[in-house]
C-alpha cells in the first residue's frame, strides 16, 4: 500500500464541545483513558499501509503538534515521508482561517503536488473508528470508481441537522446525497472518509475553490453525483463508530467504551491503536479502595471509590472520595470527602475536600483545565 497517502483535516466546528475545545482541536480531545481522537485515525491509516500522512491543522493546534511530535509512535518518522503537520499560513487568497475543508486543501496543495502516491485517503477528525482502510482501498481499485466513500448503517450515527447521508443503488453506487438535512431520509451515514486519486482530488479542489466553493460534500460530491460526471460509490464500514462533536457525544463515547463488547469492537488485535507514551508506572489500588466498571490508565493512584468512570494517566482519587459516571483527564485529583457524579474534569483539575458536584446525566458538568473547586 505504498501507493496511498493520507490526509486528516482537523479544522471542524467544535462550538458544541464548550470549554473542552477552548485550548485544543477536536482531533486532540483526550478519549478512552490514554488516547486522543486523532490516534484512531492515524493508526487506521498506518495499519492500512499508509506511510505519508498529512494533518491539516486550523486553530489551537499546539496540543495536536505536541501529541503527534515527529510521528515516532506511529512509525511515521521516515526520511522523506512520514507525518507532516500542516498548520495554516498566509497566502494571497488565504488569511489564515479556512472557511472550509476545500480551502484548507487548496492552501496545502503543495503537499498534494509533492507527494508521490497515486491514491489518497482523506478523513475528517470528528468520528472515531478503527477500520481496515486497506479493504476500502482494494474495493476502490476493484470497482474502478473515481471516488469511494466510507459509510455506516449504524443508527446511532444518524443525527438530525448534522452529517451527510447517502442513497445507494444495488451495486453500491451513490445516487443521491443529503448534506446536513433537518431530517435525514437515508440510513447510510457518510463517515467523512473517502479514497480517490491524488491528481483527481487536486483538480476537483482547484476547480471548486476557484468558483468560490468551500464544502467538499455539497460543492464537489453532491455536484458530481447530480451531474453524473463521475463514478462515486460507497464501502460499508461494519465496525463501531462514534461521532465526537458535542459534550454529550463525547461523554457517551467514553461511557460506551466501558462495555467490554464495545471496547473489543474498537481495540482489535489486528488493528492496534498507537499513541504517545508517558512512561507512567502501573496504576495502584489502595488497600481500602473500591472500583467497579471503570477504565483506568497507568500512573493512577486510587484510594477511594470509583464507579462507571474513565480515568486518564496520573489521576489521584483520595481515600474517602467518591467518583461516579465521570471522565477525569490526565493528572486530575479528587480529594477526601468529595463526591462527583456525571462530570468531565479536564486536565490537571482538582476537586478539593468535601466538594459535591452532581451533573444531570444528559448534560454533564464540564470542569475546565487547571480549575480548582
Amino acid at each position: 500500500m505504498k501507493d496511498v497517502m493520507g490526509i486528516i483535516y482537523t479544522g471542524e466546528n467544535d462550538a458544541r464541545l464548550r470549554e473542552l475545545t477552548v485550548t485544543r482541536a477536536i482531533a486532540a480531545m483526550p478519549v478512552a483513558g490514554r488516547y486522543r481522537v486523532i490516534d484512531f485515525l492515524v493508526s487506521s491509516m498506518v495499519n492500512g499501509g499508509m506511510k505519508n500522512i498529512g494533518v491539516i491543522t486550523q486553530k489551537n493546534y499546539h496540543s495536536l503538534m505536541d501529541h503527534l511530535g515527529s510521528g515516532k509512535e506511529w512509525d511515521l518518522h521516515g526520511k522523506n515521508e512520514g507525518l507532516h503537520i500542516l498548520p495554516p499560513f498566509l497566502t494571497r487568497e488565504n488569511v489564515g482561517v479556512y472557511p472550509g475543508l476545500l480551502d484548507a486543501l487548496r492552501s496545502n496543495s503543495n503537499f498534494l503536488v509533492r507527494s508521490k502516491q497515486e491514491y489518497v485517503v482523506l478523513s475528517n477528525s470528528t468520528i472515531i473508528y478503527n477500520a481496515h482502510l486497506d479493504e476500502l482501498i482494494r474495493y476502490y481499485k476493484d470497482t474502478g470508481a473515481d471516488i469511494t466513500l466510507l459509510y455506516t448503517k449504524d443508527p446511532s450515527m444518524k443525527r438530525d441537522e448534522y452529517g451527510t447521508y447517502l442513497s445507494l443503488d444495488k451495486s453500491g453506487n451513490v445516487i443521491d446525497l443529503e448534506v446536513q438535512p433537518t431530517h435525514p431520509a437515508y440510513d447510510n451515514t457518510y463517515m467523512e472518509v473517502l479514497v480517490t486519486k491524488r491528481e483527481l482530488l487536486r483538480e476537483l479542489v482547484d476547480k471548486a475553490v476557484s468558483h468560490g466553493q468551500h464544502s467538499l460534500d455539497r460543492d464537489i460530491l453532491l455536484r458530481l453525483v447530480q451531474d453524473k460526471s463521475a463514478k462515486i460509490n460507497a464501502y460499508e464500514y461494519k465496525g463501531k463508530s462514534w461521532q465526537i462533536d458535542s459534550v454529550q457525544s463525547y461523554f457517551r463515547f467514553n461511557m460506551d467504551i466501558l462495555d467490554p463488547k464495545m471496547r473489543k469492537g474498537l481495540f482489535r488485535d489486528d488493528l492496534p491503536v498507537f499513541t504517545k507514551v508517558r512512561d507512567e508506572m502501573p496504576a495502584y489500588y489502595g488497600v481500602n479502595s473500591h472500583s467497579i466498571n471503570s477504565l483506568v490508565a497507568d500512573g493512577c493512584q486510587i484510594d477511594g471509590i470509583v464507579e462507571n468512570s474513565v480515568l486518564f494517566r496520573g489521576v489521584k482519587i483520595a481515600a474517602g472520595a467518591h467518583v461516579k459516571n465521570c471522565i477525569i483527564m490526565q493528572d486530575g485529583q479528587v480529594h477526601d470527602g468529595a463526591y462527583i457524579e456525571n462530570c468531565i474534569l479536564d486536565k490537571q483539575s482538582v476537586i478539593k475536600r468535601n466538594a459535591r458536584l452532581i451533573g444531570p446525566e444528559a448534560y454533564p458538568i464540564v470542569i475546565g483545565k487547571d480549575v480548582v473547586i
Partner: protein
C-alpha cells in the same frame, strides 16, 4: 557496557527461555529497563549491551533503543553478541573477557571513562554523580558499594576501605568480614587503565577473566587508585525466585521504597500499546498494581498484574505476580505465585499456598482445570500433573 549475558540460573524456569535482564518486573518493566533508564537519566547516550544466553527476546526488546531515547545518530544502544574475529571466535568466558572482546567497539567512541553495569538489579542511580566522584578523586577505578547488614556481609564481595574511601582490600565472600561495604557490580574505569589490565588479564592463561576475581585484585596489587562510591538508595538483587517476588511486593508498600513516580527520573520501558485496564462490576481490586490491557472480573489483592492479564469472574489472585498475557480462569485461586508470560490457569485450579515457597508457572504453560500446584513447585513442560 551492560553485561547482560548471564543465564540467571537461580531464577529457575523463568530464565529457561529468556536472559535474566529480560525477565519482567513491576507490572510493565523488564529488569534491564533500570540500568538503561539510569543511563539515559544520567546523560550516558552510548551503551553496549553484551548478550550471550537466550538473546532473542532481549534483542527484540531493546530494538532501536527508542523507549530509552537511545535511538540517536551518534551513539545509542548496541547489542553486542560474541562474534568471529579473524580465524578465531569464542563465547564470552567471563565478565572481563566479555569487555575485552569488545575493545574495538569501545575504541570507536574514544572514551575517557567506561562504566560497567550488570542487568541484574532494581535500583535508581545517577552514574554521572559517580563519574564526577571518580574524576574528583583522580581514581583509576571507582566501585559502587552499599552497606549490607553485617550478618549478611559474608555473602558479598566486600570492599575494605580507609577513612577516605580508598579501597585497600577486596574480599570475595569473606568468612570474617572486616567491612560491610558490598560491591554492587557497578564500576567506572579510566579507559586507558582498564584496557591495559584487560590485555594483561587476557595474556594470563590462568585467569578467570572476571572483574571481581582478577581485574580488581590485580589493580590493587599494583597500587592503583581504587575508590568506593557509597550508594544508599533502594537496591535489590532479583537473582532468585523469592527475591524477584519480594521486589515486586516492595512496590505495593506505602510509601514505595523506590519512587517510581519521580518525573525527573522516569524508568522507561517499551510500551505494549494496549487500552487502559478495566475493572468490571463485581470485581474487587485492592493493594494492587495493574497496567494496560488488563481485564479484571474477579478478586485481586496484594498483587502485580502485567499488560493484558485477564482475571475471570470468581477467580482469586493474592500476593502474586502475573506476567504479560496470562489468563486466570473462572474460579481459579492463585496465591504467593509467579505466573510467567502467556500462561493459563484453568478453571478452579489452585496454584500456590498461603505460606511456604513461591510457586512458579512457566512461560506459555496451561494448568488444567481443577489441578492443585503446591507451594514452591515450578511448572514447565517436564511437569506431570
Amino acid at each position: 557496557m551492560l553485561l547482560a549475558g548471564g543465564q540467571g540460573s537461580r531464577l529457575g524456569i523463568l530464565t529457561k527461555k529468556v536472559a535474566k535482564p529480560a525477565v519482567p518486573y513491576g507490572g510493565k518493566y523488564r529488569i534491564i529497563d533500570f540500568p538503561l533508564s539510569n543511563c539515559t537519566n544520567s546523560g550516558i547516550d552510548t551503551v553496549g549491551v553484551l548478550t550471550q544466553y537466550q538473546p532473542l527476546e532481549l534483542n527484540a526488546y531493546i530494538g532501536s533503543g527508542a523507549p530509552w531515547d537511545l535511538d540517536i545518530s551518534n551513539g545509542g544502544v548496541f547489542v553486542l553478541p560474541p562474534y568471529q574475529k579473524g580465524k578465531s571466535g569464542e563465547w564470552y568466558r567471563g565478565t572481563a573477557n566479555a569487555i575485552y572482546q569488545n575493545v574495538a567497539f569501545i575504541e570507536q567512541y574514544n572514551p575517557d571513562y567506561v562504566l560497567i553495569l550488570s542487568g541484574d538489579h532494581i535500583y535508581k542511580m545517577d552514574y554521572n554523580a559517580m563519574l564526577n566522584y571518580h574524576i574528583r578523586h583522580g581514581a583509576d577505578a571507582t566501585i559502587a558499594v552499599r552497606e549490607v547488614p553485617w550478618e549478611e556481609a559474608s555473602r558479598f564481595g566486600i570492599m575494605n576501605t580507609d577513612s577516605e574511601d580508598r579501597i585497600i582490600e577486596f574480599e570475595e565472600k569473606p568468612k570474617n568480614p572486616k567491612s560491610n561495604k558490598a560491591s554492587m557490580g557497578v564500576y567506572i574505569f579510566t579507559w586507558e587503565k582498564l584496557r591495559h589490565y584487560l590485555e594483561a588479564d587476557e595474556a594470563d592463561k590462568k585467569s578467570n577473566n572476571d572483574f571481581g576475581k582478577n581485574i580488581i585484585p590485580n589493580m590493587l596489587n599494583d597500587k592503583q587508585v581504587l575508590v568506593a562510591y557509597n550508594f544508599s538508595g533502594y537496591w535489590k538483587d532479583v537473582g532468585t525466585i523469592e527475591s524477584l517476588w519480594e521486589a515486586n511486593m516492595d512496590l505495593l508498600e506505602t510509601p514505595m521504597p523506590i519512587d517510581m513516580h519521580d518525573k525527573k527520573w522516569r524508568i522507561f520501558a517499551k510500551n505494549p500499546g494496549m487500552a487502559p485496564h478495566y475493572i468490571a462490576k463485581g470485581a474487587s481490586v485492592t493493594d494492587t498494581l495493574i497496567t494496560e490491557g488488563c481485564e479484571v472480573y474477579g478478586n485481586v489483592n496484594h498483587s502485580v498484574l502485567f499488560a493484558g492479564v485477564i482475571v475471570e469472574e470468581g477467580a482469586l489472585v493474592e500476593s502474586s505476580v502475573i506476567m504479560p498475557g496470562s489468563v486466570i480462569r473462572r474460579g481459579a485461586v492463585v496465591r504467593r505465585s509467579i505466573v510467567a508470560e502467556n500462561a493459563q490457569v484453568g478453571p478452579g485450579a489452585i496454584v500456590g499456598e498461603e505460606t511456604g515457597n513461591i510457586a512458579v508457572i512457566g512461560q506459555g504453560m496451561s494448568i488444567p482445570a481443577g489441578v492443585s500446584i503446591p507451594a514452591g513447585e515450578q511448572v514447565d513442560e517436564a511437569y506431570t500433573f
